[in-house]
Structures are given as C-alpha cells and as structure tokens.
C-alpha cells in the first residue's frame, strides 16, 4: 500500500484537516508523527483526554549545557489531530523524531517553530510575488482560507522551500532518523498503508530517504552517562504559545486559529469582531455601530481585493484597524511584521492582537503523571525539614540555613501558596542575616495544583525558579524597579549563575532604561553584591558582572544627555555618578569597562555649560577620581556664581570630597576667598546649597575643614566649637536676610543711613 507523507505546517488548522481526512480515508496500520521518540512509549499519556493546549516539556542537563524546550499542542495541531485520528482508526502511533535533548535540536526552545532562517530568502521572494507583508499572511492566503487542491498546493510550496534552501546537518540527522522509522513501519505494515505527519520542509527529503535502507526499527537514542533529563506533560496556554518570538515562533493568534478550526473563517471573523468590540467597550472606548459597519465593509472589500472566499486573519485585522483607529499610530501594525509588538501600540490595536491571541489555558487529565517538579519539591522540603509547617527562622550564614532559604524563595517565586517570608534582607545592601518564614501546615491540595502548573518551568525547584524569573524579567521591559527585584530574587533563590537568559534580559532592560537615579541604585546594590556578598554567594557572579557593565555603559550615555540650568542638586543623580565611579574603580579590570571612555565623558560633561551644575561638579569629580589632573581650584573658580557654586560643590563632594581635604589642591583657600568676597545677598543665595554640599562630609572631616579655615585666618580656638553654633544656621541666615530688608526699607524711607555692622 505504501506510505502517505503529509507535510504540514505546525499549528495549521488546514493541515490538521488534511491529516484527519487522510487518516480517515486510508485507515493506516501506522501513524508516524514528528515528535520526541523518547516520549513514544508514553504516547498513551497524550491521549488521556486533556484539554489542549498542552505541551511536552523536555529538559536536559549535563556538564556542558542545560536545555529546556517545549513541544506544544493545540486542538488544531496536525500532530495532535494525527494522534487522535490515528487512535480512532486503530492505527499504531509512533513519535519518530530525535529527542529534544539531542544536539540536532539544541538551538530550539519550541520544537514546532517554523519561521525559519534557512528558507527566509524563498519566502521573502514569495511574499513579494504575492504582494503580502510576511510569511504568516502568505500562509493564510495560500492555504487556510481556500481549501481546494490543498495537498497539491502544499506539495508545491514545500518543494519550493526545500529545493531552494539547503538543509543543515541538524536537519539531515533528524531526517535520516525519521526515515529509519518510516522504512521499518512500511516493512512491518505489509500491505496496509502508513501515514507520516511531519513538517513540510522535511517531506521531500523523507520521501527520498524512505526508498532505500534498512528496515529494522530504530532505537531511541539515550543521553550520555552523567546527564539527566526527561520529558513530561504540562498544561500550556495560548499566551505562552504566542509568546515565542522571532525564529522560535509558530503561527501567531492561536485563538483565531482555534475558532477557524472549530467553525471556519466566517464564524471566526464574526466571533472575533465581537470579542474585539467587547474588549474595547470594556475599556471605555467608543465603538459605534457606524464603526462596526465600516469595519465590516472594509473587511469585505479587503477579502475580495485579495481574492479570498472568506475573510482571512489579516483581512479581519486590517478592516478593524482602518475603521477603529482615528489617529496616527506610533508603531507599525504588529501583524505586518513578525516579532514582539511594542508595548506602546495603540490601545485598539493592542486589544485586537490580544483578542486574537486569546487566554485559553490547557488542563491535563487528572490521571496524568505529575511532573517531576512535584516530586523534587516534596523531596527538598522533606530533606530540609520544611514539610511540617509553622513559623521558622533561617540563618543565612549557615550552609543548611542558606539551602532552606533558597528552597523557600524558589517556591515563593513559583507562586506556590503557603510560603510567606515575614522578614529578611530587602536589598543586597542591608546586613540582615536572618529570615523569618511562615509555612502553612495543611495546604497540600492547592500546593499540589500550583506545583503541577509550575512543572512547566522545569523539573527541579532550581530550574523552575530560574525559568519563572526569566519570564518575569521578559515581561518587565525597561522597568528598572521590577528588573532590580527580579535580580534580587535571583540572588535569593541562588539562581544568579543559572541562566544566561536572565543576564541577557536584564541587560536589554537596562539598555532601554532612562531613569538615572534608578539605575544608580541598581548599580550600587549589584556592585555591592558582586564585590562582597559571600552570604548569598553572589561575589564575582558573571550575571551581576553583566549587569554592572550594562549599568555603567548606560549611565555614561544618560549622564551626558542631561540638560538644564541652575537647579537644586539632584541627590539620586549624584548617587548614580558615585556608583558609576565605584564600578569603574573596582570592577573596570575584571569586567573590561572602558575607563578612558568614561574619563572622556567626565571631562566633556564637566566642561558643558548646558549641563546642570551638580552634574558638572560630579563629572569633574568623576574625571579626577579616574586620574584626570584638572586643576580643582581653577574649576571651583569657574563655578563661582552664587546660584551655581553650592550645587556644583555638592556634585564634587559627592564624588571626590578628598579634594577639599587635600592641602595641595588649595580648594579650601579658593572657597574661603570666594565666600569672603561674596556680597551679602549673593552669600544668602548660595548658602542653602553650600550647606547641602558640605553635608557630604562626615563630622570628623568637617572638623578638619574648620581647623584648616581657622589656621588660614590665623584664628585660635576649638574647631569643634565652630561647628556647634548655638542657633540653627538657616535661622541665622533668615534673620540676617530679614534684617537687611528692614534696613533697606528704613533707608528708602530716609529714616536711617545704611548700617555699618558688617563684621561677622
């Protein structure tokens, strides 16, 4: 009877229908499906009667690499349909692809991804030819809407893709393995047919490979000794399915295709228009009947213009956007390109995308074996004596205490209920070495369901927590506050060295952040953790190193862009420059920070008349601490205007207060000279800022300054007494200002001459 190859696009309803029809027609002896062969013996688990979307989660760990990937299935996945239709037809079912841990799949996080680089050139050309925006639109245009002669069209399409783009060694390895299964099944089936469901890209090669070679059943490759790994079923969601981006992504808008699968294009268009309108009205946006008529008309027009029998996904979206958006857009429409939609998308556009993406969450049949995380968590809790519940104190300085703390934090990060921390360190900078926890004693049921759900993140608490943090970080964007919290959680969970993706994500967030003060705080904390923290084990962690490097580069960029005239010193900003200096002084060599570039920025900002005075002072200080030899006394004179001086000095003192204490720099002399020469009014203007600037000195250093001043002036006495004035200096200043005004008023009225008591 031979072998019927069905080349599909993963997650395509049209292909799923074709698969179902083929299997029902042929009633084959074997249905072979592209899927992890090591799960083959447990295919029954997939057929228990789950509510899709569900996924096979596969993980692998050896000395060199850690790999986690998903094989997601929705109701309309051709693979899912093949398994169910095959079972109904009484066929033997087999997964025939290499296991997820195999090096041939090392680059993949989503087995059923499809927008692939290797044939981008061909698909780009087809898109131009058919005048559509991208491959998703092309696919809908060619296959999803008009189902006539689908097998022929699919065959031609995939032959073109395969014919013009080379398969890599990874593909070759997978295909020769899959072909072994095909040959064995064909030989075994005798005169009964075999149906093979694989990605269309592989079909032409498989057809050729299946013709010759041995017919023995292939073995399932085993991971090498010392490696751990496995596969298990986890519930999945449309949101996660749609969140794969770039070359890991499958078909977008799962909710749309779910509807398409269930009721065809017209029903899908109707239901989703309704959903979009409901969402928009729910957000208080006006969607009038006239708008709906316009949307319907436009969709109809686009459908006809593009030669579709019924509206396709983008006909619907394009019609809605034309009718509902009455302003200019800041971002390109997300469906015209593949990638992550920018967060600033127009609200109507965001709701459209969200409605088509959907919120469906899969549910596993209760009889499904629990994911390994459940067992790992139970074992960890028992090992660490945390399974009894109650209130407990954990000492971070002890090895067992740290282990307990990490386990508890991992559970907290995974959202498992019943683990609450009541006190403990809040940032990397404080010196709290003990945590207090409340572990709810009898909460097994809700804990169990949370752990089953969290099982999709990884097989152990450590892996799962790292993956959950990764996800949180991806959602944070450039929000430094959230990123810093994720980072600190990573340190608490002991995941800091776990994941390069956390580092990469945080680095990307920092690169997009524009908040100087928040970056400064983050840098300060992270630098502290990186340099000193042996409690949490983060000293010299490469993750934190990356964060430091990114923060430093970003701060340099931002600092140079701050503009503004005289304004009160911004302490957050100064703290950030100080943190930057510390990073450059203490971490430049191991992290490869560019001190020369930083020095150049310092010099430029210090000399920039448009930069605010505090930042100029700070930049001058930064340059000095990086080895610049600019003349401080001269620079102080340069900033001598009364509205600027205090703020400028605040900047300098925040960064390099030793300059004043250094007798050789003669800064004190210049300051004394400037203050003495200032007129009464100028002095009063400058006073508050000057006081703030000198507040950067601790009392002992203030005393040194006072002594220096007295020596300069030839006055004897206690320097300390000079610092302890009986009245609040600000009150004195205010009194003097008032007095001056009274005197001026009296003089204006001709009641008295100007007073002469100027000595102080």
């Amino acid at each position: 009877m031979g072998v019927a190859f069905v080349g599909v696009r993963h997650h395509s309803p049209a292909c799923a229908r074709l698969v179902r029809a083929t299997i029902e027609r042929l009633r084959p002896a074997y249905v072979l499906v592209e899927g992890p062969a090591d799960f083959g013996s447990r295919l029954g688990e997939l057929l228990l009667g789950h509510e899709p979307p569900v996924a096979i989660f596969s993980y692998y760990r050896d000395a060199e690499r850690v790999h986690a990937s998903w094989s997601p299935f929705c109701a309309y996945s051709p693979e899912w349909v093949a398994l169910h239709a095959g079972r109904a037809a009484g066929a033997e079912l087999r997964f025939i692809d290499l296991p997820a841990w195999h090096p041939a799949l090392a680059e993949r996080r989503n087995r059923y991804a499809d927008a692939e680089r290797r044939y981008a050139e061909v698909t780009d050309r087809l898109c131009r030819e058919f005048a559509v925006d991208n491959t998703d639109v092309l696919w809908d245009h060619l296959f999803e809407i008009d189902a006539d002669d689908l097998p022929e069209r699919l065959g031609a399409y995939f032959a073109l893709l395969r014919g013009e783009s080379g398969a890599g060694p990874d593909d070759t390895a997978r295909e020769s393995y899959m072909a072994e299964w095909v040959r064995a099944a064909e030989a075994d089936a005798g005169d009964r047919p075999v149906v093979v469901v694989t990605g269309g890209f592989h079909k032409p090669a498989l057809e050729a490979l299946a013709r010759e070679g041995g017919t023995a059943w292939p073995g399932v490759p085993a991971p090498r000794d010392g490696a751990s790994g496995g596969s298990f079923l986890v519930p999945y969601s449309f949101r996660r399915l749609d969140a794969f981006t770039g070359y890991q992504s499958g078909m977008p808008s799962p909710e749309y295709y779910q509807r398409l699968w269930e009721g065809g294009p017209d029903a899908a268009a109707g239901a989703l228009t309704e959903a979009v309108v409901a969402r928009l009205r729910g957000r208080g946006q006006v969607v009038s009947t006239a708008d709906l008529i316009a949307a319907r008309t436009l969709t109809e027009g686009l459908t006809r213009l593009r030669g579709h029998r019924s509206p396709a996904r983008t006909d619907l979206l394009d019609g809605l956007v034309s009718a509902l958006v009455t302003s200019d857009l800041d971002e390109r429409l997300p469906w015209t390109a593949r990638g992550v939609p920018a967060s600033a998308s127009h609200p109507a556009v965001a709701e459209m995308v969200a409605a088509l993406s959907g919120e469906r969450v899969g549910r596993l049949h209760p009889g499904t074996p629990a994911p390994p995380l459940v067992y790992d968590a139970a074992a960890e809790l028992e090992r660490l004596g945390l399974d009894r519940g109650g209130r407990l104190a954990v000492k971070l300085t002890e090895k067992r205490g740290l282990e307990r703390s990490r386990a508890l934090h991992r559970l907290r990060v995974l959202g498992v209920p019943g683990f609450d921390r009541e006190s403990g360190p809040d940032t990397g900078a404080d010196l709290v070495l003990e945590e207090r926890w409340w572990v709810a004693p009898h909460d097994a049921a809700s804990r169990m369901s949370a752990l089953v759900e969290a099982g999709a993140y990884g097989p152990t608490l450590l892996d799962a927590a790292a993956a959950a943090l990764e996800e949180r970080m991806a959602l944070a964007g450039a929000d430094m506050g959230v990123l810093a919290a994720v980072l600190f959680d990573a340190a608490l969970c002991g995941c800091a060295g776990q994941s390069e993706r956390i580092a990469a994500g945080i680095a990307a967030g920092i690169a997009g952040s524009s908040d100087v003060a928040a970056l400064g705080v983050a840098l300060e904390v992270v630098l502290g953790l990186w340099r000193h923290d042996r409690v949490l084990g983060t000293a010299r962690s490469p993750l934190l190193g990356t964060v430091i490097e990114e923060c430093a580069v970003r701060l340099l960029w931002l600092v140079e862009g701050v503009r503004g005239g005289a304004a009160p010193a911004d302490l957050g900003r100064l703290r950030a420059v100080a943190a930057l200096r510390d990073a450059l002084l203490h971490a430049a060599a191991p992290l490869g920070l560019d001190r020369a570039a930083a020095l150049a920025v310092g010099r430029r900002v210090a000399a920039d008349p448009d930069a605010p005075p505090d930042l100029r002072g700070a930049a001058f200080g930064l340059a000095r601490s990086l080895g610049d030899t600019g003349d401080t006394a001269r620079a102080v004179r340069g900033a001598a205007s009364p509205r600027v001086l205090g703020d400028w000095l605040a900047g300098l003192f925040a960064l390099a207060r030793e300059e004043v204490l250094d007798p050789a720099a003669a800064v004190l002399a210049v300051l004394d000279e400037l203050v003495a020469a200032a007129g009464e009014e100028d002095f009063l203007v400058a006073l508050p800022a000057l006081r703030q600037a000198f507040a950067f000195f601790p009392p002992r250093e203030r005393e040194t300054i006072a002594r220096g001043l007295m020596e300069r002036r030839g006055v004897r006495g206690s320097a300390r007494a000079l610092l302890r004035s009986p009245a609040d200096p600000m009150a004195v200043a205010e009194a003097r200002a008032l007095e001056a005004r009274v005197d001026a008023a009296l003089a204006a009225a001709g009641l008295t001459g100007p007073t002469g008591d100027e000595e102080s």
């Binding site: 005048a131 559509v132 925006d133 639109v137 316009a294 008309t297 436009l298 027009g301 686009l302 006809r304 213009l305 593009r306 030669g307 983008t314 394009d318 019609g319 956007v321 034309s322 009718a323 958006v325 009455t326 302003s327 200019d328 857009l329 390109r332 429409l333 015209t336 390109a337 450039a478 990307a508 690169a511 997009g512 952040s513 524009s514 970003r554 340099l556 960029w557 140079e560 862009g561 503009r563 570039a597 150049a600 920025v601 430029r604 448009d610």
Partner: protein, 365 residues
Amino acid sequence: MTHDDTTDHQRPPAEVRFAGELERLRENDTGPRPPGWALSLTAARRFVVGDEALGVTRKFVGDTSLIDRALVTLATSRGLMLVGEPGTAKSLLSELVAAAVSGTSTLTIQGGAATTEDQIKYSWNYALLVSEGPSTRSLVPAPLLEGMAAGKVVRFEEITRCPLEVQDSLLSPLSDRVLAIPELAGPDAMVFAREGFNVIATANTRDRGVNEMSAALKRRFNFETVFPIADFATELELVEAEAGRLLERSGVGVAPRRDVLEVLVTTFRELRNATTEDGRTMDRLSSVMSTAEAVSVAHAVGVRGWFLRGEAGEAADIVACLAGTAAKDSPDDLTRLRRYLEQQAPRRDGEQWRALHAARHLLPG
C-alpha cells in the same frame, strides 16, 4: 515632502510618467471596477506594488497591506488620510493611488496657513462676474468642485496646516457628497458628487499632528499611518540606487561605497528610531531623519569625496555632511549627534565605524 524622483526638473504627474504601465494594466484588467474607477482594485494595487509580468515597476516600498486598506477605503464612503513622519513618501503614495484610481493625480489642493475655501471649492472670474453676474461661465472651479463633478479623486496635501474652519469645508462634500453654490440658481446651485469622487488627504505628524483636526472631520476619514522603511536591506538598496543616480548626474565618476552607505543608513535608522540595533534607547532628534535625507547625505558624501579627493567618499565625509541634516532644527540635535558618535559608534565593529568615530571632531561647534 520630498520626492525621490528628480530625474527631470519638470516633473510630469504620475499618470504621464507611468502612462505605459497604466495602459498595460487597463488592457489586462479583468477585475470588476468600482463605479467611477479607471482601474479595478487589483489592477490599481498592482500599479503601486508592481507586477513583473506586465512590466509594472514597484513604486512604493512599504507594507502591501497598507495599499490594500487604502484602496478599499477609497471604494467606500470614507476619505483616506495618510499620516506619518515627513519623508515617508505619503505624497508620492497619494499621487500614485489617485493616478491609478482616477487616471489623474493633478486635482491637488496644497494645504497651508494661507489656504482659503476659494482654493478648495470654487472662485469667480471677476471680469465675467461683473459683466454677466454669477453663472457657470463666470464660475472658476477649484479641485474639490472639479473632482466632485467629474467623479475623480481629489488630493489634499498637508491638510493639518490649514486653519480648522478651512478644513471643515470638506465636511458636507465628504458626508453628503454634495457641494452647494448658493450664488447660482436652479440645478446649478447644487453639485452632486459623481461616482469615483473621494479625497486623499496627507498630514505630517511633525507639524501639528492630526490633533488639530475636528472630531467631525476625523470621523469621515480612515487613517493610515505611513512608516519609514522597516527593512534595513530595502532601505540600503533604495539609498544606494537613488544616491547612485544623483551622483551620476552630478558628474561623479564612481559609485558610492557599500560599507560607507551601510554606516550611513544604520546611523540614520538609529537616530530616527531613537534606538540602536541592540535595543539601547537614545534621545529622539527633532530633525527628520528620513530616507530622502539619507539619500541627500549619501549624494553629498559622494560629491565631497570625488571633487575634493577623487574617490568615492568615506565615513569622515558622513560626519561633515550629517551636521547640516541632523542639526537643522535645533542646536540640541548637534549635541545628540555628537553624543551618538562619541558613545555609540565605538561600540560597533568595522573599519568604517572606526573611521566615523575618529572623525567625530569634524562636527561643527
């Protein structure tokens, strides 16, 4: 708006420049035509996005779906509003679409602070008006009246630069599809729009934005935002081709260097998007960094290189020429540009990036 096409100083309208293509499309046009249209929707679309088989060139490098939505909009009762940054070829698109739909793109109102209703609707030949009184003979129709009477597409360029009350003179022509001429009596006093009439307006998001439009008028338009070219390779190709043509006409004997153009186009794209390719955000320049500007800088770079040194121009010339483009509107832009060259350029690999960084002192000021 600037046009990329400068092959001829006396620039003929699209329907003349592409007369051959329009003719071929018309001959091969089998699709149903909306009433009053010169071409079917599919043929009009092929005129803009190109059709190799018929020898129709691709004239607009942007999303095809934008063209689809624009054409379908014109076939309905709403007007089409093209909005976007300057230099995104909105006017070119409006011209092409008008030429495809109506066969003429010259019924154009140029919006400006001094635009009056006369220039939109109609005015009078005063000599005739005085001697004969108001009549169809003394009436001088403006583009809107002409378009309504003949069933053609009327283009309204830079609509938001007109005063609000002038913009609102479009309200009844767009909703009731009728224009009243109260000076005339009898049937001539009302001009009803024929099938095929519609309005394509363009507005610039940099000038005053569309916020300056009344809600009533906004409702009568479908908005289409035209974006700068999304794809690096496409933009590079376009800049290379256009700059090459300009250079040839300026008597420059060599083609621009590919690596220099890559640096130039990357710089323009990053400054335009205020984001570097690796996702670092920067300050947005207040100057427009459009593809058209990139072409003119590439042209200037080539001219400098050839006439000063006898070669194709290098990264240092980009710096010298950029100042005039990027710092057109405000001195702050010059500072932003300097900061870009100081801090972002050295993070790149490549000989030309190093040269660009090294030449940063060539920025004036």
